[in-house]
Symmetry: none
Subunit: 211 residues, 4 copies
DNA sequence: CATGAATGAGTCTTCATTCAT
DNA sequence: GATGAATGAAGACTCATTCAT
């Protein structure tokens, strides 16, 4: 069996109508995913929810997988952007400010639409999703790494490794909030804990620098 | 078609032959999952790999989902047991010993068969998997919580919350190792980092106690 | 889009029931093709006519194309066998006997079930059909070539070429009978004409040999 | 859905622009057919190749089938015209001249664009194509029949039958050239063989007439 | 007239599950 | 208990055709 693994969008919308259709399909996909789960996510159901025909989906996405990827990508993109912006904003500042800003940016971005974040975690991994996630992960690690390197009051040894571990340490607890392993209402407290955890960790692996 | 949502094993193997067959099916499932991925995991393929007929699978599992769950459960069970044992072994000891032991137990258990751990992450979430994962997560948090409460040199405030955050902070980086977001060869270093991170965090959220 | 072009049969029937099913599917395919034409030949219709489920078709053929090919192949096989046998039977005989026998064998085989022959002509060519037809054509040409080489009363110069042209000269008129460009009732007369044509042609391209 | 079986062109192009568009569509159809095969022949692809929109195709053809038929018809028309002209040119001449001219006209016309001829053979038969082919076949047979009747040095008994068989005898070998069952480079030799075959056959079924 | 986005019926194909042998 | 042939519901995807712009 040969499966179409091409993921690139099939056409770029030229008419205004097209852009609207793409948007509508995208949203419908997310809605079905959130409200009915992955196994209920059929092209028919998406089309139905979007109020378009199945054919329209294939006008813009070469296959169902590509649609899924697009939705996942957009989500990850907003999250990573939030983190990147936070990093950019705190360059050259002390460790404490960095920890606080990064944690806030990441947690808030992930919890902004918890249902969506949760639904997307359910997406089964595949070559395509793995690639995408890998790309975003790298961006995150790079942003953190750069940030750490610019720190005003500490010098982090092995910034690449530390950035990766730090990133991982944020991901896990947020996942727990999303799965309600920790009640969502405790988000604020968890955020504080993560800030504390981040700062404690970073201080441990950094040498203080006196200006 | 009404979907069978029963998950409980259809029969407990009473005879040696039965037990062996269950085992064979279980292993075959894991092998197919690891070598060909989730979407190739069909009952026919499992039966084939196991050297039994499809019918035999249904002799022991009410449906495919139950088989999947069983495989996931066994994996999670070995991991949680390792953690629980580590916790039991360190009751009443100082924070540093606890951090080191828990990190070692968890990381080693997860990385013992990285291919298996990785493959199981790919399993799409569903009501059944969510329940299972939730159950294991609770056990993990309880174990950590109890452990912290028994600490000889520190008193952790809000042990439930801390246990949860701590657990999360371990999960994330290990996931990164499994997806090679951090190269697997760096496991040892990551383990050290996680020990450092754990200890730093716990010290931050604990009040020292002098015996 | 990647299309499955594997054509080899999916499984060899092991149980008696299987063999019967294969046969039933084969016949049904032919019936649908004959009675409703190529564009009505859907897997659903074949299964329906065969009295089995769609799934059963895929138990024995990897895809619809393979089924078509199998049907075509069996037909061509019976025709080519008839010709090969006629050739074998006339080895070493005079030109006239050869011409008569080959024409009779071919025409009779093709006209035995005119509806079937006609239906199969409608099959659109594809890589797979082309290969098949090429194989059969070669066998026909070889058989004729060998036959001519064994002739007792004449020596054919360029037997390969002559065999090919001769074969072609038989194919065309028979096709006309099948499409009713020549009324089917005139088969007998056409056969005589083809015998005359064959003999006249062969005599023209052969040098008489006196024993 | 009721299928539109109307085949007649939707409008006769009155303006130069229209005629040009029809032409462009016609050519594009042929090109797609030749280069990508029948199953790739979609209206979208034709429109794309033609540099027009799908809608434009429907401006000039009621449906896809009609387009196909038109293309086939034009091809067959050029072939039959060549044959008819050859026949007209040889009226009243001797058998040998007739055989030579007809063979030359037919073979050359068919082999003029072998890729096109080949591609059109792949077209699956349907009521519409059958009718078309039948009409052309009749014209061919009539032309040959008339030709034979005018022969100066022989009287063909049963000219209708003979014309049909003769026509068929030419069709087959040319098909073999097109499918490469006989290498295309051998066209010239095959043409000679066909001339010989034709003459031999016609002499066999004719009575000599002395002027 | 031209465009091309939208349509949706129609196809193939898969695969969990059953049950006669 | 074991087998594996049979089932058929379900889903992805195509593409001729229409029609609003």
């Amino acid at each position: 069996m040969a499966i179409n693994t091409d993921i690139s969008p099939r056409k770029s919308p030229r008419q205004a109508r097209s852009a609207a259709t793409v948007e509508v399909i995208h949203d419908a996909t997310l809605q079905v995913l959130v409200s009915q789960g992955l196994q209920a996510l059929t092209t028919a159901r998406v089309a139905d929810r979007a109020g378009v025909s199945v054919g329209s989906i294939y006008q813009y996405y070469p296959n169902k997988q590509a649609l899924l990827i697009a939705v996942l990508e957009r989500h990850l993109e907003t999250v990573i952007r939030a983190v990147e912006q936070a990093c950019a904003a705190r360059r050259g500042q002390p460790l404490a400010a960095m920890a606080e800003a990064v944690v806030r940016a990441y947690v808030d971005a992930k919890l902004h639409r918890p249902d969506v974040s949760r639904a997307l975690y359910a997406m089964p991994s595949s070559a395509a999703t793995d690639t995408l996630v890998a790309r975003i992960t790298v961006r995150g690690q790079l942003a953190l790494c750069d940030l750490l390197a610019s720190c005003s009051d500490a010098r982090v040894l092995e910034p690449t490794l530390v950035a990766a571990v730090w990133a991982g340490a944020l991901v896990g607890p947020v996942q727990m909030l999303l799965t309600e392993a920790i009640p969502l209402e405790r988000s604020a407290v968890v955020r504080e804990q993560l800030t504390a955890l981040s700062l404690a960790y970073l201080r441990t692996v950094a040498r203080p620098v006196h200006a």
